[in-house]
């Protein structure tokens, strides 16, 4: 044995590290530049949303769902509304269904901009992040036109939506999706996606096989990145998603092996294009007139029962398990989020990778801390 003994070093990363996407902490066990293990420590953003729900009327909980995943709040609103409507047998007007799809898909686009933009930022590419945020700004403007809020939209209501489309929205929205599909995505790919340095940083890194993804309950883009063609909008359509024509992109190992970080990055780029297609069809099919909200009984109660409803949020399966005792408040409400299960695989994935690759792995899984902690 040499006179220099070597031992593993324990390092702390976060809770305020720029690449932890919110307040999130990792305890790193490192051996030089190699990682032995990274153990996530979560809970810094626990606000007890599930406990709050038990004290609030069914409709009153809607603004709290915004805060579950504030990067894609319409999708969280939608999941909750769909779950309550299924449990209480509430029909949603046709026009409201279309408005929901438009808002939810816009929100998915805005969320993916943060998803892959922040991944690139973590890897040191600042400019593409600014490009992504520039486009997200248009999404913010559109949502502001639609419901007045730029971040926590609270747009969906139980039985419908809060507002009809304002004047000029359709044109602006159509221009936005045309710009994204025909100009921005190509420009962005030329700028960064085909960049050799980026490919070297992401391809063959953090490989998740399809079996592992299923075992660790990964969902959404992270599951599809591993080559599993499963999208709740196609496989278990809720609302009117069965009326739209769109593809479900899956990871094929574009520059490496299926299920690596590049695949998860690329899936999100492709999903933006698919969301553009859905929005265009929804704008075309949107009825010119009609109700946008079903009138709810006052006081609004939900018949006793239990239900689990899952919807496709940008971060994977967003499930609400609702238990009603027939009263005005939920008896128990559990929110199952995509980021929560994405986090559980990090300890497994981080074994034996470089410290710099951990940043790529966290970024490619696109976790949002408030969604884990709730």
């Amino acid at each position: 044995m040499s006179k220099y003994s070597s031992q593993e070093m324990v390092l702390n990363m976060g809770p305020h590290h720029p690449s932890t996407h919110g307040v999130l902490r990792f305890i790193l066990q490192t051996d030089g530049e190699m990682m032995v293990k990274a153990v996530p420590d979560v809970g810094f953003l626990h606000r007890g949303i599930e406990k709050i729900a038990e004290k609030l009327p069914w409709q009153g909980f809607m603004p709290y769902t915004d805060r579950v995943d504030y990067v894609a709040s319409v999708n969280c609103n939608l999941g909750y509304a769909v779950a309550v409507e299924k449990l209480a047998d509430i029909a949603v007007p046709e026009k409201a269904e279309y408005l929901r799809v438009i808002a939810a898909e816009l929100s998915r686009i805005g969320s993916h901009f943060i998803g892959f933009g922040a991944l690139l930022l973590d890897l040191g590419a600042v400019t593409p992040f600014v490009h992504a945020l520039r486009e997200r700004e248009t999404f913010n403007d559109l949502m502001e036109m639609l419901c007045g809020a730029r971040l926590t939209h609270n747009y969906v209501r139980i039985g419908g939506v809060s507002q009809d489309l304002p004047q000029g929205f359709k044109t602006k929205c159509r221009n936005f999706v045309d710009h994204l599909e025909h100009e921005f995505i190509d420009e962005f790919n030329d700028l960064i996606s085909y960049n050799t340095i980026l490919i070297n940083r992401l391809a063959n890194v953090g490989v998740i096989t399809a079996e592992e993804a299923n075992e660790y309950t990964l969902t959404g883009p992270n599951l599809r990145g591993s080559g599993v063609k499963f999208d709740l909008r196609k496989d278990e359509p809720y609302g009117i998603y069965d009326r739209f024509d769109f593809d479900v992109p899956v990871g094929t190992g574009k520059y490496g092996v299926p299920g690596d970080c590049y695949d998860r990055y690329w899936i999100r780029i492709e999903e933006v294009v698919q969301s553009c297609r859905i929005i265009r069809q929804a704008l075309y099919g949107l009825p010119g007139s009609g109700e946008i909200r079903t009138r709810l009984a006052k006081p609004f109660t939900v018949p006793a029962g239990e239900i689990y409803v899952r919807t496709e949020s940008p971060r994977g399966e967003l499930g609400y398990y609702l238990i009603s005792d027939g009263g005005k408040n939920p008896f128990r409400l559990k929110i199952r989020t995509g980021s929560f299960s994405s986090m559980t695989i990090i300890e497994h994935l981080s074994q034996g990778v470089m410290v710099a690759d951990l940043v790529a792995i966290i970024g490619s899984l696109d976790v949002v801390a408030p969604e884990i902690d709730r």
């Binding site: 979560v42 809970g43 626990h46 007890g48 599930e50 406990k51 299924k86 449990l87 299923n214 075992e215 660790y216 309950t217 990964l218 499963f230 496989d235 278990e236 029962g305 239990e306 239900i307 689990y308 409803v309 899952r310 399966e317 499930g319 398990y321 238990i323 128990r332 559990k334 199952r336 929560f340 299960s341 986090m343 559980t344 695989i345 902690d373 709730r374």
Partner: protein, 173 residues
């Protein structure tokens, strides 16, 4: 697959483990399983080629007031079917075997349920609090939970700004 056919298969495969089986609102089946048979029932649901409920969608705990329960939402990609497995627990001593062997991804779900309900998962490798600090008192999602006034000597209640006055007797706001 139509629900009646699934019920027949499930009844024959799971046998005595099942206490009751009902259709839920969402084309979903609620299976109440006896605690003693939970591990075998989960193994059958996951590994039986005719069932293949290999995906764990969700897990949660519930406090019904007079009893507690743990719920597992499973999905079978082959059958495109969902089942909800529920196990009722004794409220005074909530203990249930961990399903970590069958579903690896359940690790954090069970830790969260332990954290918020105090339900202990026997056989779980790392049953620590997940969301709350390790020295937190009590389990907040229990129905009889009282929010502690102090945490490590720090007052947890928000100061009532509207009704308080400063030294000069002027209101804060």
């Amino acid at each position: 697959m139509d629900p009646e056919k699934l019920i027949t298969i499930l009844t024959s495969r799971l046998g005595i483990a099942v206490q009751s089986m009902d259709a839920m609102k969402n084309d979903d089946l609620m299976i109440v399983v006896d605690k003693k048979h939970l591990i075998t029932a989960a193994g059958t649901l996951k590994n039986d080629p005719a069932l293949g409920f290999s995906t764990l969608m969700n897990h949660l705990g519930v406090d019904y007031g007079d009893s507690m329960a743990v719920i597992y939402n499973l999905y079978s990609p082959a059958l495109k079917q969902k089942v909800t497995v529920k196990v009722y627990l004794d409220r005074d001593n909530p203990e249930v075997p961990s399903l970590e062997r069958a579903f690896r991804g359940i690790d954090w779900f069970e830790r969260e349920t332990y954290d918020l309900f105090g339900i202990r998962f026997i056989g779980h490798g790392n049953l620590k609090r997940l969301l709350l600090p390790e020295d937190w008192d009590g389990h907040p999602l229990r129905k009889d939970y009282v929010y502690p006034a102090l945490y490590n000597g720090i007052e947890t209640a928000r100061i009532d700004m509207m009704n308080e006055t400063d030294e000069a007797g002027e209101p804060h706001v």
